[in-house]
């Protein structure tokens, strides 16, 4: 699971960043040291772990650094270009940039690239590339023009492909994008035209690239807020052909940021990308980590002071300008494992409840994504305000529904939604449902009065939603104290974060759960739903009924039946202990006591029959009860010891544990006696060492 750690700033003084932010952050030959080039005249060398600068160099007044300083990993020297053509080389010992080695070149430099293991490369604005050594040997050599007029280099990256350096750069001309791949082992320059698909009116805001085995995977963030992937072959299949090969980009992630701001993108590893930008048009900028494989948001961090829309990633650190201050956020992505991903699974569904496709079929999801770009555009779900529905002659039902969601009344949405859900399911059904839910939630956020409860309930009951498909849903429900909805979510979603589970638990234990309110909501529920297609409602009711039964049997149930039903939903939810424990500490002690009392009550109930189970459909299991008792005690023991109400409960739990220990020791004693008996018995048998018997063979 990816995680962003506590951020820290590198410089207390604001950098002299221009309107375009920093020029660059580059690695140094020593680990943990980075060269920061600001937009003006200064290059600073930072040691990141110490958060302090090790050195700072500036060019003379009047001169302007035009390309980020880099470190030559082979010699340890630093290289910078100022005034587009003047190359400066210096080392840590040099103080004044004016007095260091200087070389004036014949053409304007776009960037210098340097990565460990090879000599630095200089990329000229006209697209020509030179090795640094060759260039320094003859600085005034003629530099050829590679790209056409009006073609401008937008982005570039330098790789090692099987120990051979390769450079990729992207150019733009009149809204068309071209990719050039220069390989130095064969000196082949391959040019590709980037086909943008249907979204040609969008500008590409940011690029990032990573190496696959046979391809350079170029990710681009468009101004529509989506991330696209383009695979550029490292080894061009047919270099003889003069024809420019075209590469198509495919949608990787949809609408991760709002497209209108300055956004940035950086690939972290095979499956993770970091995106910088506001997730919604109105919101503050955020740094988010997305898993591209599962298309889920892993973690997000708000950056309220705004950024320059630039993002660098080296090793474990993400660099960005937060406000005017250079900020480093350490990023960690643990090895993803099944256990880590799932935590404790939801307990097996009982036969009474339907089997629901909890897990989205990613194959169809990705297939769908590709299809949408390569074939008809009409299949795409467009939900940006900039696109008018009239542009598309044939608008899919889901899109119509989305536009209805944006404008119409709750009642109308509900009717339309029911119509839509009655239609046949497409392979991408779950994503469509997710989009609809997100659409509804977006409107909830912008319009505080808008809360399409029934529609949301209906969507949840389609059994295809999960927490990650509509991240805001439970938060909204928590905000509105919509207990019924939360219960439904707890029953339906397989992937609720522990923090949210705990928030639900907190609410269920608080005074928010009252009889009248519940009754009222049940009424709404009954009105709003068609009982035939809504079988979960039934199980829901069963669940509410079950504790009532137990109440009839014993009078000591510490909570009202409604609350018991809600708590049972929490008991069934999936969790990982280590993530749940810190949140459990936040629950007030009185509530913890109440919950423990309830769990103890359930435990006693379990002990009433031989199979150690509770009556009713889908009851919590003994293991779940014991796990939760242990968790609660672990998290809150010191607090519980202090409060008098919990005293009797703790005493009874203590007595219980004591009696268990007693039983074990008694059993051990009995075992010894039994062994002695067995030995005696054996000796008796042994006496028959010799006998004469009759045997008949058939």
């Amino acid at each position: 699971m990816a995680a962003l750690e506590e951020e820290f700033t590198l410089s207390a003084v604001p950098l002299g960043a221009g309107p375009d932010g920093l020029l660059g952050v580059e690695q140094c030959d020593k680990t943990d040291q980075f060269l920061i080039t600001d937009g003006g005249r200064t290059v600073i060398l930072y040691k990141v772990s110490d958060q302090k600068p090790l050195g700072s160099w500036s060019v003379k007044q009047g001169q302007v650094i035009t390309c980020p300083a880099v470190c030559n990993f082979q010699t340890g020297e630093y290289i910078v270009v100022h005034d587009s053509k003047v190359l400066r080389l210096w080392t840590n010992e040099d103080v004044n940039l004016d007095k260091v080695f200087k070389a004036t070149l014949s053409a304007e430099v776009y960037r210098i690239h340097s990565i460990p293991g090879t000599e630095p490369l200089v990329l000229f604005k006209e697209g020509a590339v030179r090795g640094l050594e060759a260039l320094l040997a003859e600085p005034q050599q003629k530099i050829e023009t590679v790209i056409s007029d009006e073609e401008v280099i937008k982005w570039t990256k330098f790789f090692m492909v099987f120990r051979h350096p390769a450079l990729i750069f992207i150019t733009e001309k009149h809204g068309n994008y071209f990719a050039y791949v220069q390989k130095f082992n064969s000196s082949v320059l391959s040019k590709y035209t980037l086909l943008l698909g249907q979204e040609e009116n969008f500008v590409i805001q940011s690029f990032t690239a990573s190496l696959d085995r046979k391809f350079i995977s170029l990710l681009s963030l468009s101004s529509d807020g989506c991330i696209y992937e383009t695979l550029i072959p490292i080894h061009p299949s047919d270099p003889e052909k003069n024809q420019q090969p075209r590469v198509v980009r495919s949608l990787l992630l949809k609408t991760v940021v709002s497209g209108n701001a300055r956004n940035a993108l950086s690939v972290l590893d095979q499956d993770h990308v970091a995106v910088l930008g506001p997730p919604l048009p109105a919101s503050k900028e955020c740094l988010s980590i997305w898993n591209t494989k599962f298309q889920t948001l892993q973690v997000s961090k708000e950056l309220p002071q705004g950024t320059s829309g630039q993002l660098w990633y080296y090793g474990e650190h993400l660099f960005m300008l937060h406000g005017k201050i250079l900020t480093v956020i350490p990023y960690k992505c643990e090895m993803s494992s099944l256990a880590g991903a799932l935590g404790k699974l939801k307990h097996g569904q009982d036969s009474g409840t339907q089997t629901m496709p909890h897990f989205v079929n990613w194959e169809t999801s990705q297939g769908y994504g590709l299809e949408s770009k390569n074939s008809e555009p009409s299949k795409r779900i467009l939900r940006r305000r900039t696109i008018e529905p009239s542009v598309q002659p044939e608008v899919p039902a889901s899109q119509q529904l989305l536009s209805i969601i944006k404008k119409d009344s709750e009642k109308h949405i509900e009717i339309e939604l029911r119509k839509f859900l009655a239609t046949k399911r497409t392979p991408d059904f779950h994503t469509v449902i997710g989009d609809i839910a997100i659409g509804l939630l977006e409107r909830c956020k912008t319009e505080p009065s808008f809360y399409p409860r029934n529609s949301l309930m209906q969507l949840i009951q389609m059994h295809v939603l999960s927490y990650s498909l509509c991240p805001g849903l439970m938060e909204v429900a928590l905000e509105k104290t919509d207990i019924q909805m939360l219960q439904l979510c707890l029953q339906q979603f397989p992937d609720i974060p522990e923090a949210v589970t705990c928030a639900c638990l907190k609410m269920f234990l608080s005074d928010a759960v009252q009889d009248e309110k519940m009754e009222e909501q049940m009424g709404i529920l009954q009105n709003g739903f068609n009982p035939e297609e809504d079988n979960c409602d039934n199980c829901d009711k069963e669940l509410s009924k079950k504790p009532q039964k137990t109440v009839e049997e014993t009078t000591s149930c510490p909570v009202i039946p409604k609350r018991a039903a809600l708590l049972n939903a929490v008991l069934h939810s999936a969790y990982s202990e280590s993530f749940l424990l810190p949140h459990l500490k936040d629950i007030p002690a009185q509530h913890i006591t109440l919950f423990l009392q309830y769990l103890y009550f359930l435990y006693l109930k379990c002990n009433e029959n031989a199979t150690m189970t509770l009556p009713g459909i889908h009851p919590p299991t003994l293991n779940q009860i014991m796990d939760w008792i242990c968790l609660l005690l672990d998290a809150n023991f010191t607090v519980l010891v202090m409060i008098p109400e919990a005293k009797s409960l703790l005493l009874s739990l203590y007595k219980f544990v004591k009696s268990q220990i007693c039983i074990c020791s008694e059993l051990n004693k009995i075992e010894v006696s039994f062994r002695e008996l067995k030995k005696l018995n054996q000796e008796k048998n042994n006496r028959e060492l010799y006998s004469i018997e009759v045997l008949e063979l058939f």
Binding site: M335, S336, S337, Q660, I661, I663, C664, S665, L667, N668, E671, K679, Q682, N685, N686, E688, L689, Y690, S691, I692, E693, V694, L695, E696, L697, F698
Partner: protein, 656 residues
Amino acid sequence: MGEFKVHRVRFFNYVPSGIRCVAYNNQSNRLAVSRTDGTVEIYNLSANYFQEKFFPGHESRATEALCWAKGQRLFSAGLNGEIIEYDLQALDIKYSMDAFGGPIWSMAASPSGSQLLVGCEDGSVKLFQINPDKIQFERNFDRQKSRILSLSWHPSGTHIAAGSIDYISVFDIKSGSAVHKMLVDRQYMGVSKRKCIIWGVAFLSDGTVISVDSAGKVQFWDSATGTLVKTHLVANADVQSIAVSDQEDSFVVGTAEGTVFHFQLVSVTSNSSEKQWVRTKPFQHHTHDVRTVAHSPTALISGGTDTHLVIRPLMEKVEVKNYDAALRKITFPHRRLISCSKKRQLLLFQFSHHLDLWRLGSTVATGGKTSGKFLVPGKHGDTLPLSKDADHLLQLKTKVSKMPACLRSAVQIMFSEDSTKLFVASNQGSLHILRLLEGSFKHLHTFQAQSGTVESMCLLAVSPDGNWLAASGTSAGVHVYSVKRLKLHCTVPAYNFPVTALAIAPKTNNLVIAHSDQQIFEYSIPDKQYTEWSRAIQKQGFHHHWLQRDTPITHIGFHPKRPAHILLHDAYMFCIIDKSLPLPNDKTLLYNPLPPTNESDVIRRRTAHAFKISKKYKPLLFMDLLDEGTLVAVERPLDDIIAQLPPPIKKKKFGT
């Protein structure tokens, strides 16, 4: 078939010795096992795990280490400070050599097989060169301050790891000096134990050293830096043994609690190249200490104080479901330890250092119904009242001192039926015939070994008329000699699997041969060819349940009156084959434990087949027909053996 009076004997007080070492030889797929009494056994894993060779032990030669070197050469070393090489052909000790380092605790052959290392009580590690005829001392390594309990070579042969008390040393072979000394934590579950004994080490080709110790730890060390990499706490008691597979992708450890743990090198996540050692499977096939383990390509082999040799196949490595796919627990020797005098109703039990002679008891019960001519007093399952209990007559411990040279070492001896001749299989492949006179004997003849072989004959059979002698070694075929004419009569065609039992039938002089793959052949000595019946059963094939038995036939007997009957037994069943009845095919039931109820004679006759099996007596060490209506069965219940073992480590069953 008939009714029998069965003398059910359980007083054979045989207790196998605990297993001390096992050594697996990949080249020949053989397993050498040494026991605490110094006995060494060789099992042929390709021949249905048959124990094909056996070197008797002696208290003074307790083995502590056993290893194969130079392909097929077997060495052992023990607390008497000697290194012993075994002659696998002559079944004898080739030579023994004192290492002059006090008791030897460990031994390891170099990966190339040309050098031998021993770890001694005085803390020295000694390197020996293995020459074709002998071993030669080469050098001492830097002496350590306490005994060297375990040794392991790096697969490249440049370094070794040596486990001592509280630390592991890594030696450089060239210089002979310790490169690293890795101290092992004495702490055990927070309690400081007195000492931490490194019971086993394994050196992997990537430089990792795995150690197992008396604190219950399995630890991984980096030999380049001498640092601890990882610890697995696997037991509350000692971990006493370790063995690594040739591929170095799995290893096995054995603990004093009787548990064997399998560790495997598995990928951290699917399709990632990063791998780590994971404890995958625990096996509890032993009740006592697992003193030694071995890792064959397809199985985990373990042995210990509870005397069982356990072969646990790795199911993922076994391709076809056959013998190799079944768990094997070998407890009893694949040899006959009992012989019987039919006329005098005496039983002779063979122990490692003495012989016991017993006389069977008798019953006066008479009457009942007739079975053929014989009167059986009682019905199936009855226990008859004893008129006389069995007597322990003698215990023979002393050996005759003056023996001719040819009799000093014998692999097998046998008397002729009329007790006038003694046949001796010597350890040089030759067979001697002696005439027994009152109080002395006379050497009559020696059949020399076949040219070029020195393989000892370990099974003998003599015909009741005294004319024929059959002898079999472990690999070559069965030779039949004419005692009258004193020459080789014929050789039975060689078969792939070793012979487990031999016998010559009275009157017909048919030689019955049982092989370790459960095949049985009947060979007519006068005609020098297989009999009709043998051909018929080979043509039809044995019943699959017969072939699936996992203990070898150890004895073959005949009915004195009915020449068509052959009696055979293994450890779990005995069978009387009636050659006159039709052979069973795979559709018929081979063994039916239930007596026929009210079926008509017709049905009984139709379903009757040649194999009459009883599994009533087990584990069965010996069974024979005393006369036409009396059987003797010698059982050795496992519980009786367990009762004589030291108590195992007590484990709590309830509570933790």
